[in-house]
Symmetry: C2
Subunit: 112 residues, 2 copies
């Protein structure tokens, strides 16, 4: 054990934000969220039609978005209606906003 300043593994907010960011880390998931927004809500099938990916692949992406908390699915067999999860959405929005704005406050002189 070296006696340097160690972070208690990771900061809770950093973990939370990284989780959202990771979910946003693939173009198709960004576009799924956009599409979901433009339709307010929609079924899996509508999304599958729009993207050049297999149904199972889209379903997998939807699962990741759901697990990250960004969307929620209301199951209504045999259909599932997805929409943005408003609570977590705003949480993510706030995290990213604070993150980027906090950065902008500081003097950015990159001196020697």
């Amino acid at each position: 054990m070296k006696h340097t300043i160690k972070f208690n593994p990771y900061d809770v907010e950093a973990i939370e934000m990284a989780r959202f960011a990771k979910a946003l880390g693939h173009p198709v998931r960004i576009e799924i969220l956009r599409f979901l927004e433009s339709q307010a809500c929609c079924f899996t099938g509508e999304i599958v039609e729009v993207f050049p990916l297999a149904q199972s692949t889209i379903s997998q992406h939807l699962k990741e978005l759901k697990e990250a908390g960004l969307i929620q699915g209301e199951v209504n067999p045999p259909k599932v209606k997805y929409c943005i999860d408003q609570v977590n959405w705003h949480k993510a929005q706030k995290l990213f906003n604070e993150f980027f704005n906090q950065m902008s406050d500081v003097s950015r002189a990159c001196s020697t």
Copy 2:
């Protein structure tokens, strides 16, 4: 070839945003950026001291942040001074802002 509406692979903005998001998709990279901000700029060694990861691992994370455009490194052997890349930072800030705010504009009624 089914004649459904296909996206021309992916939207340029979606790709760009996903690239930023992916770079933000790991807690340690979030914290590195925060740390970098609190110091305005700093050397690799200062970052290595703070996190419980090997020097080579931190260097790898820095490389990813650099390749995503979020930071830049001014080499000054044997040291390298890193700071936030202001141009791309603001680009990312804008992308995320638009993304989240556009979403909030729309009516969110999740009707049947």
